[in-house]
Symmetry: C2
Subunit: 556 residues, 2 copies
Amino acid sequence: MTDIQIAQQAKMQKVIPLAEEKLGIPKDALEPYGHYKAKVDLDYLDSVEGAADGKLILVTAISPTPAGEGKTTTSVGLTDGLNRIGKKAMVCLREPSLGPCFGMKGGAAGGGYAQVVPMEDINLHFTGDFHAIGLAHNLLSAMIDNHIHQGNALGIDVRKVSWGRVVDMNDRALRQVTVGLGGVGNGYPRSDGYDIVVASEVMAIFCLATSLSELKERLGKIVVAHTRDNRTITASDLEAHGAMTVLLKDAFRPNVVQTLEGNIAFIHGGPFANIAHGCNTVVATKAALKLADYVVTEAGFGVDLGAEKFVDIKCRKSGIRPDAAVVVATLKALKFHGGVPVGELENENLEALERGLANLEQHVRNVRECFGISTLVAINAFAFDTEAETALLKRKLAHLDVQVIESSHWADGGAGAEELAKAVVSTVESKPSDMHFCYDDEASLVEKIEAVAFKVYGAEKVTYDTKVGKKIAQLQKEYGHYPICVAKTPYSFSTDPKKLGAPKGHLVKVREVRLAAGAEFIIFVCGDVMTMPGLPKVPAATRIDLDENGKIVGLF
Amino acid sequence: MTDIQIAQQAKMQKVIPLAEEKLGIPKDALEPYGHYKAKVDLDYLDSVEGAADGKLILVTAISPTPAGEGKTTTSVGLTDGLNRIGKKAMVCLREPSLGPCFGMKGGAAGGGYAQVVPMEDINLHFTGDFHAIGLAHNLLSAMIDNHIHQGNALGIDVRKVSWGRVVDMNDRALRQVTVGLGGVGNGYPRSDGYDIVVASEVMAIFCLATSLSELKERLGKIVVAHTRDNRTITASDLEAHGAMTVLLKDAFRPNVVQTLEGNIAFIHGGPFANIAHGCNTVVATKAALKLADYVVTEAGFGVDLGAEKFVDIKCRKSGIRPDAAVVVATLKALKFHGGVPVGELENENLEALERGLANLEQHVRNVRECFGISTLVAINAFAFDTEAETALLKRKLAHLDVQVIESSHWADGGAGAEELAKAVVSTVESKPSDMHFCYDDEASLVEKIEAVAFKVYGAEKVTYDTKVGKKIAQLQKEYGHYPICVAKTPYSFSTDPKKLGAPKGHLVKVREVRLAAGAEFIIFVCGDVMTMPGLPKVPAATRIDLDENGKIVGLF
């Protein structure tokens, strides 16, 4: 059965009584969006702020293959497993982006018997959060061009507008456009470009702000342009941030849904994991910790990108601290890191697996040493995994003193993740974490990128040309205390997606640095960054349809 | 008090029990979107299809001034008034467009004590319908450029792509753009442009389709481009219409909200009233007629644009038939038609009023003679209206044998519209309508535009250049049976916004004709048509904000 078929057969419970039963959230604190989606009231969340925090489990991964190693699926399965062994557990996930559903990628709400539902809603419009984020972004864009058109009192240089536009669609034709054509009535012609909504700085801000007032303040700090003499123009100079906050007011409340096994999930926010920090909102994670004893959450891509940003960006300002990390791997992907080509990954290959293990080992060491978080390994099981492979993996990892658990939640739901759940509980209880950052606030921006490159990526040197060096020096003055956010390939520790396994001694070339003044981080671009995907030759949209009973087909 | 202050002070009732109490809609047939918005299930609406229809009251107006004459306000007030005199009445309205809220225009959910609530939600994201319509439109756009990029098997001529892109924002810089710049990876450069979402043909189709399967069929018929040898390319050629329907599936259910006095309103769909037909969805109107004894609805602009399209487009295929029409006028606007400049409209001026009455008289005659609908006149009262003015108006209109009622719903709510409600009931009961179209399906496109221009506008001649004539002849072959949709200024019967009152003998120059194959009408453009508004010098967005209690301010 496909994911959507499993999801459509699920007997969902009405989510408001379910959230009351499972987490004690009073009915009045939940606003329904249909019967199976709700938003939780911010005033109620303020009222539980004094409660003790539950344990936070960060689900991260090895360097993934393009298919992904199943972090969301494992997060959902682990949550169901924890509930099965008697723990009050919930999961915090990112919202999927609508646009890519019509391209190549299917849904992003777990898979198999470890899914969150209603799957179609979550993957399509959900509760409209991304629409609100897109509109808030585009309102600011319209106000920039309008300001220039209406006399340009602030003196914006049309060549120096850095705030583009967004749409939640894979649309390569919009990557680079010229706007303001057609004559005097339509403003000043200038070069512009579209990103997909999840790449918007508004999304990153939305995920990091802890209150509506902080949201507004951060939106006001967004740098949108410069003047001819290089004065900075912000969203607050255009008086756009109040109206942007109004557009985001409802979206800012966490969304409540359920797993296939009737446990509660908060799904809220979904920033890119390269030019942004790649995890769900701070508001949702903090709230979940007050409501459940175990909170499972995920961070985008592998440890090098996702967990690093989770710690150095999300945890730094919010005070959130994970109690354990689960590094997800598949035998398939480890064989890929060991040199097996796609297409042969389902065959047993012990030599390749052994070579590929270097990738997993390095990630496990990083979680412990770079961030001080207690770690365990989850093997997201596939039917073609062999006993010999699993045995080899466990034997080879013995020296790390890390628990390695095969987990069959994809096929078996929470029952398949009970062992993983028990291991998580024993790790949390027996090996308390003492999370630390990879670098301090006081380190310079160069020291920060070097700390991440040397410690996490195993690189030997960070390089950049004079122009980038100048920009770094310039940003250092005003924004040197911000954390950094590295955009690089997720497929390798290095900046070369072809260097699999655990490369050492490589160079990290910084191609570009960008200020995200509202998100409060500096983006170091170290490779190609795609912020507007394209559709494939045969888009999934051509197969997505309503059948004669009004059921959605082709979304998977 | 401002509209938003009145709306925020309203004691709303939970809309699901309210809809059950007022209209007998069972709880299970309503899906909540928060406590004060809901969507009604299509299966339930199918189940009541056999019920007898209530009476349908069309609220239309004189040629408006830019401030509008209060059609929505009157529709809401009349509904409350009908309920006060013991009738089971509800109202069907258009959804406001989000973008313009940040420009000049305030909300569009009535005004004063005749509003629908929750006002902020209705004016902002509401239940996400317009976001869905915008995305469905832009999915098709992305699939066109992707098809060209991926080998262009259909042979689309990049110079002949007629399907643009949309955003729900006033953004003049997007009126004319170049897309596909930046090299081979980004597709083929071509000229493109953005409209505001309400101008999308998807919106018109959404409002005219009677079922999801008809919606899909009409979406498939959208003409998006032509080949080099002028073959037509449709959305179904690109296999986009199934996925577009999936995006619109939830939006297609009518939205249920309430008036300030706790009566039910369906607010659903909102197409432009120039390049489209300007009224709420057929689905909502048909459903309302099964549920209430009196259904009040509105059509955009004055009788010449709104009522004409209501009859000739919306009623033609759907079988909907209005039982009476209320022509809304303000003394202020009549004085404007009589030559008084803006700024002096609040002063008594009997001479100007008498001159301006010609506009009202012509509209009343048109409703009766062109469409066969029983008519009455509602004067939407302002505090500065004088008794002498009202008396003059009634005396001068006596020869038309039309009831003229002053209605103070803006200030007094339903109580102020009781007299209007009684007059509506007596008109419906004593003067049954026998609606007919302004032209038959079989008339040629030229005969159709002449029928509207001569009968409704009082014009003497319809002209067009050779190129337009050729296009009309070409469209006549395949689409000659479609109704026409005229885009012209709403401020005059003529195509010149400065010709106030009731001009006669004028020319109607057709500048352009456009095919809306999915909406199933031919657009005759007779004047400047603005499908992407701009923001004013000081956008309303600069005043819209959240106050310290999290309340929205500045939206009015």
